[in-house]
Amino acid sequence: MSILVDKNTRLIVQGITGNEGLFHTTQMVAYGTHVVGGVTPGKGGEWVLDGKLPVFDSVKMAKEATDANATIIFVPARFAPDAMFEAADAGIPLIICITEGVPVQDMMRVRNYLDQKKVRLIGPNCPGLLTPGEAKIGIIPGNIAIPGNVGVVSRSGTLTYEVLYAMKNLGMGASTCVGIGGDPVNGTNFLDVLEMFEHDPKTEKVIMIGEIGGNEEEKAAAYIASKMTKPVASFIAGQTAPPGKRMGHAGAIIEGGAGTAADKIKALEAAGVKVAKHPEEIPTLLL
């Protein structure tokens, strides 16, 4: 058991013939993920990975032929909104969008449309999902994490790798790691993933990696305080960030005094969450 993905997940890759799409498809297949095909408009009928995976012109065609139930998107930012709309329209219930740099207003339209269709979106601007030993949908290096009982959820990419690696060095494994992405308007949030972890029998403890900007960490804190029975440890990146400047991630900005690391840490500590001073300390708080 795990959340969101398992060995029954049948994945297609949108943008499978691009550099990144092809590289990571190879990695995902090598990890054991059940990839059933890909989509690149205009390249339908071709095959990739030495003739193992079929390429289709549209998501609809790919779904009809492969019965896919999840898609991962590797297309450039200007095509990503269309790729998400297309996947939702074709009836794919789970979309993971790795693409960075999608304009906010595009994401608002995508998110509101997907909500109407009851489609779950992870990302964009995220490293995807990893259920160690079972499946990886995304770009998290498979060898830095081992199977275990700690659920990990994060807004960041490489910082998540850092934490998974520190866990592995302590012999601590992950049930599922979910990168929800660093954009201000995204699909799945901390709250959604915490709820899934709370109900996942495989997950006994949770690590939540947040950062400055927005108020999703505060909403998560309220959920943890009222509903969560499993212990949570956390870290908030951007404690030294100057206000008003965008720190790489489009969502990581402190505006008008809201969204500061200090506020988030305060809210989490009040909810009984242990907050680490640096990322390598996080797993030690759950020992």
Binding site: V104, Q105, I139, E211, M247, H249, H278
Partner: protein, 379 residues
């Protein structure tokens, strides 16, 4: 990206939002000429990308063109919050009856655009929000539906706008939403939207922010970028697609990934140091990009040590190491450098840097401690 008041108002006007007559000037001479053309009293307004221009003395009323010239001379010589005033907007003066606040912005929590309006306009809206939140109206817009006239009327009612102005207000609201949508603005703000003594609605001041990620489809707006607010190193970094922000400390940082870059700064501070910058070289950075990043970091004379923290995923550590070597060859740095490579091709990367005389570290905490020590010695 922020736009100046004069740029924002020009855009507003294209969408049918009434603005005062006026033009922008770079010299006092030009300001005088504009004032003469307008006739009567004018307002001379500094064009800088910070708030609080009025309080800083950057907005003044002139009774005629002679005074406009004098005031323009004065204002064009000013610095407001560290930014030099290079342009002034000369607008006809309006006789004001009431000031309204009206804006459309992103509501990241609701995942929808939001209208923010208040009858208490003209002043800092954050102050109104803090002191009298009940005076602020917020209405979300469904991005798939867009602004509708009934929504605008609802807002007009909520801010007690007299019925005679509803028609004009609705036009302005529809126009401002089109501005917000068509320019990919993250903020389109009119403050104040005034009711003049002769019973007209006019956008007296305007402010816009554009989503940087959307600039690829707005080349006309991208050209309006004013880089005065940015450090030269930030402008240079943008050319290479690096995410870079200059800070006040003395430890240069080069990290892959925004979250990890922020965290590296935090950990430096935790161990008693001060980061000189935020720098995310991005996923899959090649040696060229890394070399550019290193040149930018080392061009800052206050940098006394550099920390490289690379967790290879898409980014390959050997590519990063190659970039470091290229840049070292070019720049011949005299400051100590601490390097930590983990993940994809870390072994190869470390081997490449073996003879480069760098301090190596295993963990992030260790790397941060070593760079703090190195910076102290360098001082």
């Amino acid at each position: 990206m922020k736009l100046h008041e004069y740029q924002s108002k020009t855009i507003f006007s294209k969408y049918g939002i009434p603005i005062p007559k006026g033009r922008v000037a770079s010299t006092a001479q030009e300001a005088k000429q504009i004032a003469e053309e307008l006739g009567g009293r004018v307002v001379v307004k500094s064009q800088v990308l910070v708030g609080g221009r009025g309080k800083a003395g950057g907005v003044k009323l002139a009774k005629d063109s002679i005074e406009a010239e004098q005031l323009a001379t004065q204002i064009l010589g000013m610095e407001i919050k560290g930014l030099p005033v290079r342009k002034v907007l000369v607008d006809e003066a309006s006789a004001i009856d009431q000031e309204i606040y009206f804006a459309i912005t992103d509501d990241r929590s609701a995942k929808k655009p939001v209208i923010i309006a208040s009858a208490a306009g003209g002043i800092d809206i954050e102050e109104v929000a803090a002191k009298t939140p009940e005076k602020i109206i917020k209405v979300n817009i469904d991005p798939l539906l867009g602004m509708r006239e009934y929504i605008a009327r609802d807002v007009a009612v909520a801010i007690d706008l007299p019925r005679e102005y509803w028609r004009d207000f609705t036009k302005i609201a529809m126009g401002l939403y089109e501005v917000y949508k068509n320019t990919d603005a993250s903020l389109a703000e009119i403050n104040p939207l005034v009711i003049t003594k002769d019973k007209k609605l006019v956008a007296l001041d305007g402010k816009m922010m554009i989503d940087d990620n959307a600039l690829y489809r707005h080349p006309d707006l991208a050209e309006m970028r004013d880089t005065d607010e940015d450090a030269p190193s930030e402008i240079e970094a943008r050319k290479y697609g690096l995410s870079f922000i200059k800070l006040d400390g003395n430890i240069g940082c080069m990290v892959n990934g925004a979250g990890l870059a922020m965290t590296s700064m935090d950990v430096i501070k935790l161990f008693g140091g001060e980061p000189a910058n935020f720098l995310d070289v991005g996923g899959g950075a090649d040696s060229k990009k890394v070399a550019a990043a290193m040149r930018i970091i080392l061009s800052d004379p206050s940098v006394k040590a550099v920390l490289f923290n690379i967790f290879g995923g898409i980014t390959r550590c050997d590519e990063v190491a190659k970039g470091i070597l290229v840049a070292m060859d070019e720049v011949k740095p005299k400051v100590p450098m601490v390097v930590r490579l983990v993940g994809t091709n870390a072994e190869e990367g470390r081997r490449l840097l073996e003879n480069a005389n760098m301090i190596t570290a295993e963990t992030l905490a260790d790397a941060a401690k070593k760079s703090v020590e190195a910076a102290k010695k360098g001082n």
